[in-house]
C-alpha cells in the first residue's frame, strides 16, 4: 500500500505528533511525507529515520494555511491509497476536508494500525475515551488521523530522498492577522509527556505557585479542571476534560480534583495517573494508578523536594 503522511512544520522543525504519524504510516506501507515552509534539507532527509522513504516539500506556503494545505495534500495524494495525519490542531483543520475532497472514508483518533485481515479496520477512542470502536473504512482511498502519543516511535539511521513539490494552490480567502503563542516558554499541554493539574481543592489562584513549581521542575505542562478555568483562576486553554482539551500524557498528576466523569473523559488516555486529595472517597481514586490521601498544601511541597532529589541523582 502506498502511504502519504502530512507533517506539520513549525519554525523549521517537524512536530512530534507528525513524527509519530510518519512512523505509523511506514508500518502500513511505502511512505511519502508532504510538508511545507522553510525547513532545512537535512531535517527533511532525517525523516527517513522515522520510516519515510521520500519527502515532498512545498516552499511557497510559509505558514499554516488550512485552505491551501488541503489542496497541497490532495494533490500529493493522487497515487496514495492511505493518507495519514496527526490528530492535532493542524490535522483537525485539514484532514476531514482532504478526505471529503478525495471521496475517502476517514477514521479520526486512530489508536491502532489497520487490521487488514478482513477489510481495513482501525481501533479508535469513542465516548470521550470511555470506550473504543473498531471502524472499517470501505472506500478505495482511506484517511487516518492518528491520536497523538498513542504509538511508540522507533528510529533508524535511514535517510529519505527530498523533492520539491510545486502545484498551483490558488489564493487563500482566509488571512491570518495575528498569532498569540500560548504558555510562553512553558511546555505545550497537548504535546506534553507529563502534566500537573489542579482543581478547586486549591482554594484560590494565589495557590498555584507550587503547582507551577512542580511542573517546572519536572518539565511538565500545567492543566486544571473546568470550574477553575470558569471562575478565572487559570486560563481557559488549561481546562481539560470532556468540554476542554483531551490529553494523553505518560503521567498525569491531579491535585485537589474530585475526578468527575466529565473531567476523567479528557484525561483517561493518560498512561499513569497520580491523585492527591484530602478525601479518600474522591471518585478520582477509582481511576488512578497511585493515590495519596493528604492535604495538597503539605503533599505538593514534599513532592517537589523529592523530585528535586531524584533529579539531581538521575539527570
Amino acid at each position: 500500500m502506498s502511504v502519504l503522511v502530512f507533517a506539520d512544520s513549525n519554525n523549521g522543525a517537524i512536530a512530534k505528533s507528525a513524527q509519530e504519524a510518519i512512523h505509523y504510516g511506514s508500518k502500513i506501507g511505502e511512505t511519502t511525507v508532504i510538508t511545507y515552509g522553510d525547513v532545512d534539507e537535512s531535517v527533511l532527509a532525517a525523516l527517513g529515520s522515522y520510516g519515510a522513504s521520500k519527502v515532498l516539500i512545498n516552499k511557497t506556503i510559509t505558514e499554516f494555511d488550512g485552505q491551501r494545505l488541503s489542496k497541497l495534500v490532495r494533490a500529493a495524494a493522487e497515487s496514495a491509497e492511505v493518507i495519514v495525519f496527526a490528530m492535532d490542531f493542524s490535522g483537525k483543520s485539514i484532514s476531514s476536508r482532504v478526505a471529503a475532497g478525495l471521496n475517502a472514508g476517514m477514521v479520526s483518533g486512530a489508536l491502532s494500525l489497520p487490521d487488514t485481515s478482513n477489510g481495513f479496520i482501525i481501533k479508535k477512542a469513542v465516548f470521550s475515551g470511555k470506550a473504543f470502536a473498531n471502524c472499517k473504512i470501505n472506500s478505495d482511498k482511506k484517511v487516518i488521523a492518528l491520536m497523538p502519543n498513542s504509538i511508540q516511535v522507533e528510529t533508524s539511521d535511514a535517510i529519505a530522498t527530498v523533492e520539491e513539490f510545486i502545484v498551483d494552490l490558488g489564493n487563500s480567502t482566509v488571512s491570518v492577522k495575528e498569532f498569540n503563542a500560548k504558555g510562553e516558554g512553558g511546555v505545550l499541554l497537548t504535546d506534553a509527556d507529563l502534566v500537573v493539574s489542579a482543581g478547586r481543592g486549591l482554594k484560590g489562584p494565589e495557590n498555584w505557585g507550587m503547582i507551577e513549581e512542580l511542573a517546572n521542575e519536572m518539565g511538565a505542562a500545567t492543566a486544571c479542571s473546568r470550574p477553575v478555568a470558569d471562575i478565572g483562576w487559570r486560563p481557559h486553554h488549561e481546562h481539560v476534560g470532556q468540554t476542554g482539551v483531551a490529553v494523553r500524557p505518560n503521567l498525569y498528576i491531579a491535585v485537589g480534583i474530585s475526578g468527575a466523569i466529565q473531567h476523567l473523559a479528557g484525561v483517561n488516555g493518560s498512561k499513569v495517573m497520580v491523585v492527591i486529595n484530602t478525601d479518600a472517597e474522591a471518585p478520582f481514586f477509582k481511576a488512578a494508578d497511585y493515590g495519596i490521601v493528604g492535604d495538597a498544601f503539605e503533599v505538593v511541597p514534599k513532592l517537589i523536594q523529592a523530585y528535586k532529589k531524584f533529579n539531581e541523582v538521575n539527570n
Partner: protein
C-alpha cells in the same frame, strides 16, 4: 444575516456506556440524550447573539430520525427561529456532511456553524467535510467569532497558540470552548418552541464510507496503589522504577 447551526444528539455526559447486540450497538436504554455540548453552548448560542445584533435568522439543521425531535425542540426553545431535520439515521461523517451540504448549498447562508466534535463519536470531521463539499473556507476550533458586515474575524486554536483570521464571504466553522456562555431556555422560549417550524426533509441518500464493526470497553482498571502522604520519595521511586514514566 442567515446562520445555519448543525445540531447533533449526544448521550448525557454522565451516561453509562455499554453495548448490546454482540457489542455492535450502543445501549440506549436508560440513557438521557442532550444536544451535543459544543453545538449548544458555543455554536448555537454565538449564532443567536449574532442574529440578535444583526437582525438575522438562525436555522438549525440535523441529520437524524424522529428521535432527534426533542433535542431540536430544545434548540428552538433556546432561541433558534426554525429547524430542519434531514430524515436519515446518521451513519458516518461523510454521509452527514453530504446531506447538510446538499441542503445548504442553494439556501444562501452567510455561515455554517458546527461544534468542535460530537462527544460520542469524537470525530471532529463533519465541519471540514461540509466546507469541502460546499467549496467554502473552513475555520476549525474557533474560540471567538465577530462579524462586521461581510467580514468575519475569528480567533482559533492552532498548534502552539491561537491565531486571529479574517474571512470575507460565507464560511464554515467549528466551535470550541470560549465562543459563548451557555443559555438556559426560559418558559416563554419553551412555549414558543412548540409552534416554531421544524421541517422534515427526505434524505438525498448520500453514501457512507465507514462503519463501526464493534465496540469495546477499556479493560478494568487495577486497584489504585496508595502511597503514604509523608513519603514522596516512595512515590517518585514507584513512578521511576515501576511505572517508568519519569
Amino acid at each position: 444575516m442567515k446562520i445555519l447551526v448543525c445540531i447533533s444528539k449526544a448521550p448525557d455526559t454522565t451516561a453509562k456506556i455499554s453495548f448490546t447486540d454482540g457489542d455492535t450497538k450502543f445501549e440506549e436504554a436508560g440513557v438521557q440524550f442532550i444536544i451535543n455540548p459544543y453545538d449548544e453552548w458555543y455554536a448555537l448560542v454565538r449564532g443567536l447573539e449574532l442574529k440578535e445584533a444583526n437582525n438575522g435568522t438562525v436555522t438549525t439543521i440535523s441529520v437524524g430520525g424522529a428521535d432527534y425531535d426533542p433535542i431540536i425542540r430544545k434548540a428552538l426553545a433556546i432561541g433558534a427561529d426554525d429547524a430542519v431535520r434531514i430524515d436519515a439515521h446518521p451513519n458516518d461523517a461523510f454521509q452527514v456532511a453530504s446531506e447538510i451540504a446538499n441542503y445548504a448549498k442553494d439556501n444562501g447562508y452567510d455561515m455554517v456553524l458546527c461544534g468542535k466534535e460530537t462527544i460520542d463519536y469524537n470525530g471532529s470531521q463533519v465541519g471540514g467535510m461540509i466546507a469541502e463539499l460546499m467549496e467554502l473556507p473552513y475555520i476549525s476550533l474557533a474560540v471567538k467569532l465577530d462579524v462586521n458586515g461581510t467580514l468575519a474575524t475569528i480567533e482559533r486554536d492552532v498548534q502552539g497558540g491561537t491565531e486571529v483570521v479574517e474571512v470575507s464571504g460565507a464560511f464554515v466553522l467549528s466551535a470550541s470552548k470560549g465562543m459563548a456562555e451557555q443559555r438556559i431556555p426560559n418558559m416563554r422560549g419553551i412555549m414558543q418552541a412548540r409552534t416554531k417550524p421544524l421541517t422534515v426533509v427526505p434524505a438525498s441518500g448520500s453514501s457512507t464510507m465507514t462503519e463501526v464493526v464493534s465496540y469495546e470497553l477499556p479493560p478494568a482498571k487495577t486497584a489504585c496503589k496508595m502511597v503514604d502522604a509523608e513519603d514522596m520519595d516512595e512515590l517518585i521511586s514507584l513512578l521511576h522504577n515501576e511505572a517508568k514514566v519519569i
